[in-house]
Symmetry: C2
Subunit: 467 residues, 2 copies
C-alpha cells in the first residue's frame, strides 16, 4: 500500500473491506441487497460520500452491482473462485503466489535465493535411491493398496517416538498421516474454522499460510513477530479485539525470520490462548533444522489446544511428500473422516519411503551434516550480503533462512522484479506480511545462494531500483 494514501482514501478502503468481509463471511449472500448508503455511513462512522466511493470501487471490482433506483446488490458469481480476488488486492509483485509460482516453475539451473527449500544436492539422494530399491522388493500390498485412515502404522509409531523426544506425548493413535504439511493445515482449517471467522498469523509469516487462508475465506490478522516470538501485547490485543478461532505459527526457526520462541514467551502465549479458548496449529516443519532445543507449544500444552503438524519435505524429499497431524484423541475420528472424504486413502508409498529412511539412522546422520553445512552457509551468505548493505535482522540459531533488511529507500518487490528479469528468483518481504509492512525486507535461502552470479544480479537490481 502506498504510504502517501490520503486519510479519505483509507476510509474508503476500510468501508470497502468491511463489505468484502461480510461477503466472504457470507453474512451478505450472493444476490443480497447491501445496506443503504446512509445507514452504512452511520454504521461505519463515515460520511455518505465515503460509502458512495467505496460502493463504486466494489462495482469496479465486480463484487457488487448497482440496480437503478433500487440500490446495490452482491453479484452472483458467474466465474469460479479466484484466490487472487479474495482479500486485499495486492500488487501482483507481492501476491502470496508470486514467490511460489516463480520458485516452482523455474528450471533447475535458475538461481532461487527466494525459494523455501534446499537444492537437490543437499538432500539425501543415496538414501532415497536405497529406499526405492528396498520398496521395489516389498510385499505387493504395500505397492498397490490404499492406505489405512490414519496411515502407515510403523511410521506413526516412529513419529510418536520422535515427538516424545521433543516432549510431545502423542501415541500413534493420535497421529494421522497426511499428503503434506500444507494438506495437514488445510484439513485442520476445514475442521476448525468457518468462512468469515478470524485466524491469527505471525507478521511476517510463511506466505502460503496467507494463500491457504484466503482459500478458506477467513479474516487474517497478523501479530508482529519479534526475535523471541510474537509480540505478546499485540497478541493479547488481537485476541480481545478480533476473537480469533485459530493461531498458526512455527515455534522453532520461524519462516521467514529464523527466530524461535523462548520458553517464557511460549508459556505466556499458551496462557493467553487458554484464557481465550484459542486453538493453535504449531507447524514444526523446520524443527529438524534446530541446532539447540526449542520449546514446542505442543509439549507445554499436552495437545490440549495445540495441534502439531510437520512434514519431511524440507529435510528428506519434496517429491514423495508425507506430513502428519498430532492432535487430541477426541478429534482423531473427525480428522480420519475428513481425510477419507477429501483424499480417500493417502499415499502409502510416500509414507513407506519416509519410514525406510527415518528408521535406519541415516536420517539423523543426514541432519547432522545438514546442520553443519547450513551453519557455514549462513555465515558465508551473511558476509556476502553485508557487502551489499543488506543486513540480517537476527542471526538465526539454525535453518535455511536469513531475513534481511535492504538499504534505506529500496522496495524489495521492485528489486525482485528486476532480478527476475535476469533469471534470479527472490522473495520480497511483503509476500510474507499481512500488514504489508516488510517492504524493505527480503528472505534469503542460504543454501540457494551459492551461485556467485546472484550477488551481481542483486547489486544491479538494487542499483536499478534505487535509481
Amino acid at each position: 500500500m502506498d504510504v502517501s494514501t490520503s486519510r479519505a482514501g483509507t476510509q474508503v478502503e476500510r468501508v470497502a473491506a468491511a463489505i468484502r468481509q461480510r461477503i466472504a463471511g457470507r453474512s451478505l449472500l450472493p444476490g443480497a441487497k447491501l445496506p443503504s448508503i446512509r445507514s452504512f455511513a452511520g454504521t461505519m462512522g463515515v460520511s455518505a460520500s465515503t460509502v458512495v466511493e467505496a460502493y463504486d470501487r466494489l462495482v469496479a471490482e465486480g463484487v457488487i452491482e448497482a440496480r437503478r433506483g433500487s440500490g446495490f446488490y452482491v453479484l452472483r458469481r458467474q466465474q469460479p473462485l479466484s484466490l487472487a480476488q479474495i482479500g486485499p488486492q495486492l500488487d501482483r509483485a507481492v501476491d502470496p503466489f508470486w514467490v511460489s509460482r516463480q520458485s516452482l516453475e523455474a528450471g533447475h539451473d535458475v538461481p532461487k535465493p527466494g525459494c523455501g527449500w534446499l537444492p537437490s544436492s543437499w538432500m539425501p539422494e543415496e538414501e532415497l535411491r536405497r529406499a526405492l530399491r528396498r520398496l521395489s522388493r516389498t510385499g505387493a500390498e504395500a505397492l498397490t493398496d490404499y492406505g489405512t485412515p490414519l496411515g502407515h502404522r510403523p511410521l506413526r509409531q516412529l513419529l510418536s517416538q520422535r515427538l516424545g523426544e521433543h516432549g510431545v506425548a502423542a501415541p500413534p493413535e493420535q497421529i494421522l498421516l497426511t499428503e503434506s504439511g500444507t494438506q495437514a493445515i488445510d484439513m485442520l482449517c476445514r475442521l476448525l474454522v468457518e468462512p468469515g471467522e478470524t485466524v491469527l498469523v505471525d507478521d511476517p509469516c510463511y506466505f502460503n499460510f496467507l494463500a491457504l487462508l484466503r482459500a478458506h475465506r477467513v479474516t487474517v490478522v497478523g501479530v508482529p513477530w519479534t526475535p523471541t516470538g510474537p509480540d505478546l501485547a499485540a497478541f493479547a490485543a488481537a485476541i480481545s479485539h478480533h476473537r480469533p478461532r485459530l493461531y498458526i505459527t512455527n515455534s522453532g526457526l520461524q519462516n521467514p525470520t529464523g527466530a524461535s520462541l523462548t520458553p517464557a514467551i511460549a508459556h505466556r502465549l499458551l496462557a493467553l490462548s487458554e484464557e481465550a479458548g484459542l486453538t493453535i496449529i504449531e507447524d514444526d516443519i523446520f524443527g529438524d533444522f534446530c541446532q539447540e532445543p526449542v520449546p514446542r507449544l505442543a509439549a507445554l500444552d499436552g495437545l490440549e489446544r495445540v495441534i502439531q503438524i510437520g512434514s519431511f519435505s524440507k529435510t528428506l524429499t519434496a517429491a514423495a511428500r508425507c506430513g502428519y497431524v498430532a492432535a487430541r484423541r477426541d478429534w482423531m475420528e473427525r480428522l480420519a473422516d475428513l481425510k477419507i472424504a477429501t483424499t480417500f486413502g493417502g499415499n502409502p508409498v510416500s509414507a513407506e519411503l519416509v519410514y525406510a529412511i527415518l528408521r535406519d539412522g541415516s536420517y539423523r546422520r543426514h541432519l547432522n551434516g545438514l546442520r553443519e553445512r547450513l551453519a557455514r552457509a549462513r555465515g558465508d551468505v551473511a558476509v556476502r550480503l553485508s557487502g551489499l548493505g543488506i543486513r540480517p535482522w537476527i542471526e538465526p540459531r539454525g535453518g535455511i533462512f536469513l531475513w534481511c533488511e535492504l538499504p534505506e529507500g529500496l522496495d524489495a518487490a521492485e528489486v525482485a522484479k528486476r532480478a527476475l528479469a535476469e533469471d534470479v528468483v527472490l522473495a520480497p518481504g511483503n509476500v510474507f506480511s499481512v500488514s504489508q509492512s516488510a517492504k524493505r525486507f527480503m528472505r534469503f535461502n542460504v543454501a540457494q545462494c551459492r551461485d556467485p552470479r546472484i550477488y551481481g544480479v542483486l547489486e544491479r537490481a538494487m542499483d536499478g531500483a534505487a535509481g
Copy 2:
C-alpha cells in the same frame, strides 16, 4: 429411514432439515436467532406444534439452544466440524463412511466384497517393481524436488494423447495433476460451489461423493439413475426446482451400478445443462475398464462446461496415487493457484511411477488381461449370487461391480452388519443413495468375491436378517 415413520414425524423432520440447511448454507449464522415458531410454521405450511417438535429435536442434537423467554438460537460451535453431523442424520450402518472405514481398516485377509478396488493380486505388481527400480536410478531432482504447479509434464502429454483417443481435446496445458481423483473433485468443489448451493448427483452414486459434498456443506440432490444414464425428466425437474451449480457423475461404468451413459442421453443431458448454465464434473475413474466405447461428456462438450477427472488408483496402484483434471483453458490458472495454496507441490514420485508404466505399453497389456478376467468374474459371481436369490440389476458391459437386489423383505444394512460380525465387509445400497431408496440393494465387487466363505456368510446373514 423407517418406512413406518408417521406423516407427522416426516413433517417434523422436514422442518428440522430446513433449519439444518439454513445453518449449513450460512443463511443462519452461529449465534443467530431462529425464526419464531409461529412465523416458521407459516413459512413451512405446518402446525406450530410441528415446529416446536422440530426445534426440540435440534436442541437435542446440539444444533440450536433455547434461551428462556427469548427464543431459539444457533449454537456457536465449540467443537470442530463433524462430518457425521452435517446433512441428514443417517443410521450409523448406512453412513457414507461405513463402507470406507470397514474396507480401509480391514486386514488383507478379510474378504471385502463391498470394497471399491481390486485385490493386490490383480494389480500390475511386476510393472510397479520395475518402475520403482527405474526410479531409483533417475536424476536427483526427480527424487527430491517439488513438482511444478500443473505437474509432471511428460505424464500430462501422455494423458493428453489418451484423452484424445476418447475424443476429448485437452492439450497438456489444460491438464493439471492432482494427488488423487478424490482430491481433484475436492479442488473443483472449492472452486465451483459455495456452502448452501446445490449439487446434483446420481441416485445411487459413489458414497464418497456424498461424504465429500457434506464437507463442502452443499445441498445434495439425487437424480434417479437408470440403466442408460440419469432419468432426464427428473434431471430437468431438479434443474428447474433446485437451480444446482454442479452435477457430478461417471459416464462410463457408473459406480455402483456399472451402467454407462448412452450417446442419446449424453446429448440431451448436455443440452439441458447448457440451457441451465450447469457445470458437470465427469469422473472417468472406471473408463479404462470399459470393454466398448462409451460417450464421454467431455468429448461432446469440448471441455466447455464439462470438467473431466480421472486417476489410476483402480487400475494401476492405490498406493502411489495420481489423479488429473482436464478443464477449460481459462480456469487453469485458478486451479494451479488453488493447488499451490492447498497442497503446494503435489507428489512427483507418484506421477513418475504412473508415467513409467503408462508409457511403455505394459499398462495396455495389463488392462486387456484385466478386462477379460473381470468379464469371467462377473459371470461367475452373478451365478453364485443368483443361487442365493440375489439378482443383478443389469449385466454391466465391463468393470468390477454388480449392483444387486436382495430377496424381498431384506434390509441390506442389516445383512451387512451381520456379515461384518463374521469378518466379511459388504456395501449396503443406502450408503450410495441420497434418497435412501436402495434399502434392498447391495454392491458386489466381483474381484473381491473369489473366497467361497463369502457365500456361506452371506447366506447366514440373509437368513438372520430375514428372521
